[in-house]
């Protein structure tokens, strides 16, 4: 009994020496190896780590919801005075939802599509609170109100498909709260959401936790989310917690080399124009865990002891402990980390007067909506509605926006993968539209695309050599045969892969290596323009840094122009020369990076920038809360598309779509407000730009 008392004093949840393994044939592959955790009521413990380090397995093991192959060979999970690993399944059901509840990453798949929201809420209420009838409805309404859903009466009777992504995640949180849990496990709760929605959800979680004094175990890979949410932080690497610290100490002075590297690999303004720190190699496989320190193989400071012996916990400050043999590992070393070869600063000078490589004028892509037996067109989804861009050789234009704003469609329409409905695309002064496929082929080798998901963009049935050779053969760049082999080896070397990789198959490579292969495939035809469609969003931070470095050095070497489609402002800040912000199929603000990111003029740009959680504690700009979500491009609001969500909307916004106002020769914004403030600033205006923007 004394032990249980001790546990109660320690906190809500205490995990001791928890080990998780996955059965593979006769062998057990350890995924999590003896982790200790403790979460007190009202506290948020953030588990931080890259994919494959065992964060999600830990969360599932706490609820005993591991997949069929998962085993728990040892450990204790003390929750509310009981060891959950020894509870019978029937009692465990009362703990799930009633004691601990979980929020999953993907709101789209964690709600049952054939049950109404009310039904799914009632299920939990009936099970855990034994409510029935009117009481269930009453409680469900309260919960929906608590998670900030407007008009909860109507939403109760709706099905998940009628809700937007952010709304679904709110409903999911309401369901998790329904059983009045004392601990909330949130597994990457905002990874699938846009930044503005992410900010809303994080806000909500913080508020609910404070109201209910819940403990929270937050699993994430995003340092920015950790900075906003955590009380304490645990860093996981290869199935172990390697560092644990209170938030302030963690951000002020991370001690473990792995943590320091994670910070250093983040792209941001401080290291603009220089190479990012990368972590060489990758997380060791489950089947081949090294005997000593698991990070030794990738650690720059590793010495003999690291490889021979696994480090024990070491206390360095109150509440701050780590597993590392190095004791000279001084914090804050990372702050000046990225001192490697500074490449020519991207935003150095205005472009010389060169003819643009790519000129997009008033590009439109409308998808017809067909209804009825005769499939009559009843309307159009205006995915892209009048986008104009220019891009010169050797520069990077970032196209930024939330999901569904049409930025990927722009990329595909430029490549003529989607037939544009209107407007023109000129590459090297030649019109791309209205060409036959044969006539388009010589121009195809001038432009290539790198896709978002390196797992979907490589045909699993072809070897790497065949994948790279495909474009060369189709576009007649190199004769197949001997010359082809040498060309493939050269292009593989260019992206930092060995020539032997050509004979292997994509599934043998990690995500980052696959993305290198995809880049090699595009480079093989020697393009001038590369359209990068979120090339790093599916990758871990350390791998993202490698790919960004590679893209930067290729641009410096080959003078490539990038059209960089992304939603990640840190990447934009690091890499791009110019930025265009899209909202609902139109560009709302466009200009040089320093203009747009440092002095944003459009309220949407400001809101976006303020919603990005920064990976540090100080200098967080005030979050501009955007109500609602992006409307459907099938029925855009009248007037300025953004006015229903705009905090500064005025009467003119409801009436007409604003014309573009040119603030400087390069900075263009489509908003009524700047024009109102200084009406003298028209298209020809060449005065100093107004400085109403949020700086920082």
């Amino acid at each position: 009994m004394s032990r249980e008392v001790a546990v109660r004093e320690e906190g809500l949840l205490t995990v001791r020496e928890l080990r998780i393994a996955f059965a593979s044939g006769h062998a057990l592959l350890p995924a999590v190896d003896g982790i200790d955790l403790c979460v007190a009521a009202g506290e948020t413990l953030a588990l931080l780590g890259e994919s494959g380090c065992g964060k999600s397995a830990t969360a599932l093991a706490l609820l005993r919801l591991l997949p069929a192959a998962g085993r728990i060979p040892g450990g204790e999970v003390w929750f509310a005075g009981r060891d959950l690993l020894r509870l019978p399944e029937a009692e465990m059901r009362a703990v799930r939802g009633g004691g601990m509840a979980m929020i999953f990453q993907e709101p789209a798949t964690s709600l049952n599509p054939v049950l109404t929201v009310g039904h799914q809420l009632a299920e939990v209420l009936e099970r855990h609170l034994s409510l029935a009838g009117q009481a269930v409805r009453q409680r469900a309404l309260e919960l929906l109100t608590a998670v900030g859903i407007a008009d909860p009466e109507r939403r109760l009777g709706e099905y998940p498909f009628q809700l937007s992504g952010g709304m679904k995640q709110r409903v999911m949180i309401a369901i998790a709260l329904a059983g009045e849990p004392r601990l909330l496990i949130a597994d990457e709760p905002t990874t699938a959401l846009d930044v503005t929605i992410q900010a809303q959800i994080l806000d909500l979680l913080r508020r609910l936790q404070a109201e209910r004094a819940m403990g929270m175990l937050l699993i994430t890979h995003d340092l920015g989310v950790v900075a906003q949410m955590a009380t304490r932080v645990g860093v996981m690497y290869a199935g172990e917690i390697v560092e644990e610290a209170p938030r302030a100490a963690f951000f002020a002075a991370p001690r473990h080399p792995y943590t320091q590297k994670l910070f250093a690999a983040l792209p941001d303004l401080a290291r603009r124009g220089s190479r990012l720190e990368t972590i060489p190699g990758q997380v060791p496989a489950l089947s081949a865990m090294p005997a000593g320190c698991r990070f030794a193989a990738r650690c720059a400071h590793a010495w003999a002891l690291c490889r021979a012996q696994a480090p024990e916990w070491r206390q360095v400050a109150p509440g701050h402990r780590l597993r590392c043999h190095l004791d000279g590992g001084q914090g804050a070393a990372w702050l000046g980390g990225g001192v490697a070869v500074p490449v020519a600063g991207p935003a150095a000078e205005a472009p010389a007067v060169t003819p643009p490589l790519l000129a997009v004028d008033d590009l439109r892509v409308h998808f017809p909506i067909r209804r009825g037996i005769l499939q009559r067109t009843v309307g159009h989804v205006r995915a892209v509605d009048g986008v104009s861009l220019e891009l010169v050789r050797g520069r990077t234009l970032a196209l930024v926006g939330e999901s569904g704003c049409g930025k990927t469609t722009v990329g595909k329409a430029i490549l003529q993968l989607i037939q544009p409905t209107g407007g023109s695309v000129q590459l090297l002064g030649q019109q791309l539209g209205e060409r036959s496929r044969r006539a388009l082929r010589p121009l195809r080798r001038r432009m290539q695309m790198i896709f978002q998901d390196p797992f979907a963009s490589l045909n699993p049935r072809l070897s790497v050599g065949e994948i790279i050779a495909e474009g060369m053969r189709a576009l007649g760049v190199a004769a197949p045969g001997q010359g082809g082999g040498a060309a493939i080896a050269a292009v593989l070397q260019q992206v930092g892969l060995p020539a032997q990789a050509a004979g292997r198959y994509p599934h043998e490579f990690s995500g980052g290596q696959r993305q290198r292969i995809a880049i090699a495939r595009a480079l093989a035809v020697q393009p001038d323009l590369v359209i990068c469609d979120e090339p790093t969003s599916a990758l871990d931070v350390s791998v993202q840094a490698q790919i960004l470095n590679l893209l930067a050095s290729l641009q410096a070497e080959l003078g490539l122009a990038y059209l960089f489609i992304t939603h990640n402002f840190a990447v934009v800040d690091h890499l791009a020369h110019e930025v265009a912000v899209m909202y609902l199929g139109r560009i709302v603000e466009q200009g040089r990076v320093d203009e747009v990111l440092r002095a944003p003029q459009h309220p949407y740009t400001r809101a976006l920038l303020s919603a990005v959680p920064g990976p540090r504690l100080e200098a967080q700009p005030e979050f501009i809360r955007l109500p609602g979500e992006m409307p459907s491009p099938a029925r855009p609001p009248g007037g300025c598309h953004f006015h229903p969500r705009c905090p500064q909307a005025i009467a003119a916004c409801r009436e007409a779509y604003p014309a573009s106002s040119r603030l400087t020769p390069t900075h263009v914004v489509r908003c009524h407000l700047p024009g109102q403030e200084e009406s003298a600033l028209t298209v020809s205006g060449m005065k100093t730009p107004p400085c109403g923007g949020v700086t920082g």
Binding site: M449, A456, P460
Partner: protein, 485 residues
């Protein structure tokens, strides 16, 4: 032309069967060269149920292949004195077409009884009036079960030894089977020991602990399961009718063995007809979408909304009329029956491609949105090349699964169609015709059950083995399951 003792006959279905075998060998060769396919087949090799059923299927296939080498034996023309003078004339060949299997099973094929007899019986199934000579030399008519002409004839008058003789042969057969199995198993262990190094004893232990990369234990177990009943049966079949005889006194064991080829032809040739149609139309519909997709969808929804049996009946009856009005096309009855079998395969193939086509269309719709297809389009790769290089290889697992799954349902379909009288030629032995005949036999008193039982056991084994193999193949080729296996 040299005087052959026989005239080879190549039936159309033989040609297709050997082509299929060649195709399977080609696929095997291609798989061995492609590491991905190779890995998938290795996963099949590790699956115990899959290997056991593959072993059984292989036995069926060997029977079917032996039955697919046809010839017409030369008639002995020296028998009659009238024919003796014509030395220079062309040799005459029998009208009857035989197969290698017929030759091997010659005793079974030729030893006809008068009518029904039970399995392993020495006397007929029904009483008859027999004339018996009494010791005093008088002929008397007795109503009794007559002795069979062949079944147990070697016992002579000593009919009491019947049970002992059967027991002896079974024990003998079991001993022989065990010996043969032991020899094969020992040879396997020795071979494995030589290939991988180590002692035969260690290899033996590895086989039975399932540690090797191939499910040798399942193969050996299936072999034991095959040999233990087969060898005693073979010994018994020399002098008895193991599964009895049918209405016209034909050995039922011979009939079920002959049915195997019919089932294989129906199962394999039909998929051969079906595959090109469903692959081509499914992929084209999914890839090009638009009006091509509409057209193909209309085609298969129309086709699959007509009752299949009706369509098949109409086509088979038309074919029947065509065959009956052109007797001059066929040199032998076997060729006529063969053409009808092939016609049935084609008709079944033309009506059953819709399912796989729909499946492939759906998968293609999904695949064409994947980024590697778009990357190929961004290179300006032609549509045909995208289909051949990017789509087809990624659809192959579905095709292989469908192929093996359809096999068993087609074998069953043949039985059903023959039962309603629109299946194979009545002269052709098949599971369907056997089951059809059993309809009347079951109504007799006492019941004649062995014909149906034999057909059932053989067909059940064949279909079950095919289904289990299909399961193993699906698990091995499904990319979603491949990771977890």
């Amino acid at each position: 032309m040299p005087d052959l003792p026989f005239l080879p006959v190549l039936l159309w279905s033989d040609l297709l069967i050997w082509l299929l075998l060649f195709g399977a060998l080609l696929l095997g060769w291609l798989s061995a060269r492609n590491p991905l396919l190779c890995a998938a087949w290795q996963r099949v090799g590790r699956n115990r149920a899959g290997i056991a059923s593959a072993t059984l299927l292989l036995a069926f296939v060997v029977v079917g292949l032996l039955d697919s080498l046809h010839y017409r034996p030369r008639l002995e023309n020296g028998s009659g004195p009238a024919a003796g003078g014509s030395v220079g004339s062309a040799p005459a060949y029998a009208v009857e077409v035989l197969s290698l299997l017929d030759e091997l099973l010659a005793p079974l094929r030729t030893r006809h009884e008068k009518t029904y007899s039970e399995p392993l019986a020495t006397r007929a199934h029904a009483k008859e009036a027999i004339e018996v000579r009494t010791p005093d030399g008088e002929l008397r008519q007795v109503r009794d079960y007559p002795r069979l002409r062949h079944g147990g004839a070697h016992l002579g008058a000593d009919e009491a030894r019947h049970a002992a003789d059967i027991g002896e042969r079974v024990l003998h057969g079991l001993a022989l089977a065990l010996l043969a199995w032991w020899a094969v198993a020992a040879a396997t262990a020795a071979g494995l020991a030589r290939a991988e190094g180590g002692t035969p004893r260690a290899a033996w232990r590895r086989i039975w602990h399932g540690d090797s990369g191939f499910a040798w234990n399942a193969l050996l177990a299936a072999l034991a399961g095959l040999l233990l009943p087969a060898v005693p049966m073979a010994l018994l079949a020399v002098d008895y009718h193991v599964f009895g005889t049918d209405k016209v006194g034909q050995d039922v064991l011979y009939q079920v063995l002959k049915s195997v080829r019919t089932a294989l032809v129906i199962g394999l040739v039909t998929t051969l007809v079906m595959l090109p149609l469903s692959i081509f139309l499914g992929v084209v519909a999914g890839y090009f979408r638009g009006w091509v997709d509409d057209l193909i969808q209309y085609l298969y929804t129309t086709l699959s909304s007509i009752p299949g049996v009706l369509l098949i009946a109409a086509a088979v009856l038309m074919m029947q009329v065509l065959i009956d009005t052109h007797p001059q096309w066929f040199a032998t009855a076997a060729e006529r029956a063969d053409l009808r079998l092939l016609a049935l395969c084609f008709i079944l193939g033309l009506t059953s491609w819709t399912g796989l086509c729909r499946l492939l269309r759906g998968e293609t719709l999904k695949l064409r949105e994947l980024e590697y297809i778009q990357a190929a389009q961004a290179f300006g790769v032609t549509d045909l090349r995208i289909i051949a290089r990017h789509l087809l290889p990624n659809l192959m697992h579905i095709v292989i699964i469908a192929l093996v799954m359809d096999f068993s349902s087609l074998v069953l379909a043949e039985a059903v169609l023959s039962y309603v009288g629109i299946g194979v030629d009545p002269t052709m032995i098949s599971f369907g015709t056997m089951i059809n005949n059993a309809r009347l036999e079951l109504a007799r008193e006492p019941m004649v059950w062995w014909s149906l039982a034999a057909a059932f056991v053989f067909m059940f084994t064949l279909v079950l083995a095919a289904n289990l193999l299909a399961d193993a193949v699906r698990d091995a080729f499904d990319p979603r399951l491949a990771g977890s296996a």
